[in-house]
Amino acid sequence: MPLKSKDLLGLESMDASEIGLILDTARPMKEIFTRSVKKVPTLRGKTVVNLFYEPSTRTRTSFELAAKRLSADTLNISVRDSSVVKGESLIDTAKTLEAMNADFVIIRHSMSGAPHLMARHAKFSVINAGDGAHAHPTQGLLDMFTIREKLGRIEGVKVLIVGDILHSRVARSNIWGLTKLGAEVSVAGPATLIPPQIERLGVKVCYRIDDVIGDMDVIYMLRIQLERQRERLFPSLREYTKLYGIDMARLRLAKPNVLIMHPGPMNRGVEISSEVADSMSSVICEQVTNGIAVRMAVLYLLGRGG
């Protein structure tokens, strides 16, 4: 097998060469989008199931398109309209999908470790599309692909991730992937939203963006969720935006060719202003395109072993 495991559960256990292989494979996948027939027969006849316990249009459609462009058959199961709501356990769902000979199950779940539980009980390949606050490996991969495409490299690139790091699986996957490939990662956010001992993952912590923004090659804005304010983790959205949001004034403090990234969906006017989101520095739309290419690469590489 080109990748060590039948599943893609997280970047933490992967080595730099596996990550590099996925990024290298995503490039020729991207070329397919420019053809008039945006399809190759590689996964023809394979069944790819999107099992989403949390709502998501973006990631789900990205995976769906990735599978379809590889000629696979796709199936979308979202919790609200399935037997899961009636209380079917994750393991029973896995057995049901196995009985239907699914080849890949892409799972997004609100609890850390859910994809691992599923992978232990099923023969199909499990792809983690986000589990609780633990990991979102394909997001990390597409973000790295975007950085490499725009800046030519990842090693030595200075990345600042801003926002609710505590609850962010996107931040964790990016931290694992970027540090493995040699980037210098810093995180910034209110102290109540920075997880304990995060420095042990190889990142610097700072609380004032303006102090460090001039050094950064990439500024990665995380979405702030309104529920967190209700949990009293920070006093108000207004204060959050003032201290940690990025607007044109703050953007001007950064390097002229800085990349502004966001996993989406954006809270325009909260963590990112509309002007910045639509500025030349923003590569947010390219992240979306690259997402499909990276997910095609993952399906292809996991599918090869048969």
Binding site: E12, G113, G132, A133, H134, P195, P196, Q197
Partner: protein, 425 residues
């Protein structure tokens, strides 16, 4: 019926005995402990204990037997069988059954059932508060009369400080220890594992050490204030050990226990999301494991108990955050003590045995835990060199153990309760 145990290394910490000796048991009591006992002419069952260690029957003072209410997970019958297999002759059973043990009728029911179906001694802990809700004291006097040996809301902390104060004051009258489950629910809410590096990596909500330590500090102050008998359950952090050590030095009446997983495993075990690593308090860091070992060595921690908490596969086989807390422990407590403490020179054997014999007996006022002449013949025979890899074939109805697959040595080869051999081999 007479029982003669020949040639074993007899370790009886209560009487400061550690030498090769024979033991003669008659009518359920210890008749004589000396070398070269001749059994006489009447019917005698002889056990050759040469090369083995013979100790007072082990007392596990923190066990959840799940009957009534959760008999799928465990019953008095299966739980006591598990105890016997583990070399434990007395289990002290917690009150958080369904319904809870907070009145005489419940106590009577369980003691009766234990008499009929239990294969080892069952001692009961009554609830401090009605329904374990932490709001009103239960009829503690009545519970004492019915035969409980301690009171505890374990499973739950008593968050209301005034109630905990009153419990200590009131129970003092009956010489009942109050066993405290120290956890600040506001700090621990939603947590599934220790708060720290691993919880950050795994994206799981953490339970900070302070959730335990703050309540330990509170309870120690209340113990000083009231003079009540405080016993702190399942100590898991270095900070808790320090607080208790300091309190003892200052003459506060407090005792405490820990469980084998807190001197063996760390939070790193959670990395595979195996829910058999999920219990409350959670597995902590290496520094805490080290501190627990030191606390055992210098006497700060008086007892070792399993906190045996059976759960079914279907309950544990869930997302980590949803799985219930708890692991079984009756069948692994002894070999873990031998392998992780005695063989690693943290404790000498007699100190280790004391943690499960004379110490819990003294704290709970049980007339067990010794091999004195005339005492009840609860005896455990241990083969220190017998090594096994723990598999999932337990006498317990449940299999939720993180030690499956681990190689341990120091297993009980015979368990004797009131002079009767309950398990052998």
């Amino acid at each position: 019926m007479k029982l003669l145990i020949k040639g074993g290394r007899v370790i009886d910490p209560a009487n400061k005995v550690d030498r090769v000796s024979d033991i003669l048991v008659e009518s359920g009591r210890i008749k004589k402990v000396s070398s070269n006992i001749k059994a006489g002419t009447s019917k005698v069952k002889t056990i050759d204990a040469s090369g083995k260690v013979v100790t007072p029957g082990l007392i596990d003072m923190h066990v959840h037997l799940r009957e009534p209410g959760m008999e799928d997970e465990e019953t008095i019958a299966s739980g006591t069988r598990a105890a016997a297999r583990g070399g434990v002759t007395s289990v002290v059973c917690m009150a958080n059954t369904n319904p809870v043990i907070d009145n005489q009728a419940q106590v009577d029911f369980i003691l009766l059932k234990a008499k009929d179906e239990g294969v080892v001694n069952v001692f009961l802990v009554g609830g401090v508060t009605k329904g374990l809700r932490g709001e009103e004291l239960s009829e503690i006097g009545e519970l004492k009369g019915a035969g409980v040996v301690a009171i505890s809301d374990d499973g739950n902390p008593i968050m209301n400080t005034q109630i905990m104060r009153q419990a200590l004051e009131y129970a003092k009258m009956f010489e009942l220890p109050v066993i405290s489950h120290c956890e600040d629910l506001n700090l621990s809410r939603g947590g599934a594992m220790n708060e720290g590096y691993m919880s950050t990596v795994l994206g799981l909500k953490g339970i900070p050490k302070e959730a335990e330590e703050i309540m330990v500090a509170r309870d120690l102050r209340l113990a000083r204030m009231t003079g009540g008998l405080l016993h702190i359950a399942h100590v898991s952090t270095a900070g808790s050990v320090d607080l208790i050590r300091g309190a003892k030095r200052n003459g506060i009446k407090v005792t405490c226990e820990t469980a084998p997983h807190y001197f063996t495993l760390t939070e790193e075990a959670v990395s595979s999301f195996d829910t058999n690593t999920k219990m409350c308090p959670p597995l902590r860091t290496r520094d805490d494991v080290q501190a627990i070992r030191e606390g055992l060595a210098d006497g700060t921690i008086d007892c070792i108990s399993s906190d045996h908490a059976p759960h079914l596969d279907v309950e544990k086989d869930q997302e980590y955050a949803l799985a219930p807390f708890g692991i079984i422990g009756l069948e692994t407590i002894l070999p873990l003590i031998v392998t992780e403490l005695v063989d690693k020179n943290v404790l000498v054997l007699s100190e280790a045995i004391a943690k499960m014999s004379v110490n819990p007996a003294r704290i709970l006022g049980l007339n067990r835990g010794t091999l004195s002449q005339g005492s009840v013949a609860d005896i455990t025979i241990i083969d220190l060199d017998l090594a096994k890899t723990i598999d999932d074939k337990f006498a317990s109805k449940s299999k939720n153990s993180p030690f499956i697959g681990r190689r341990l040595n120091g297993f009980a080869v015979a368990t004797i309760v009131e002079g009767e051999v309950v398990t052998q081999g």
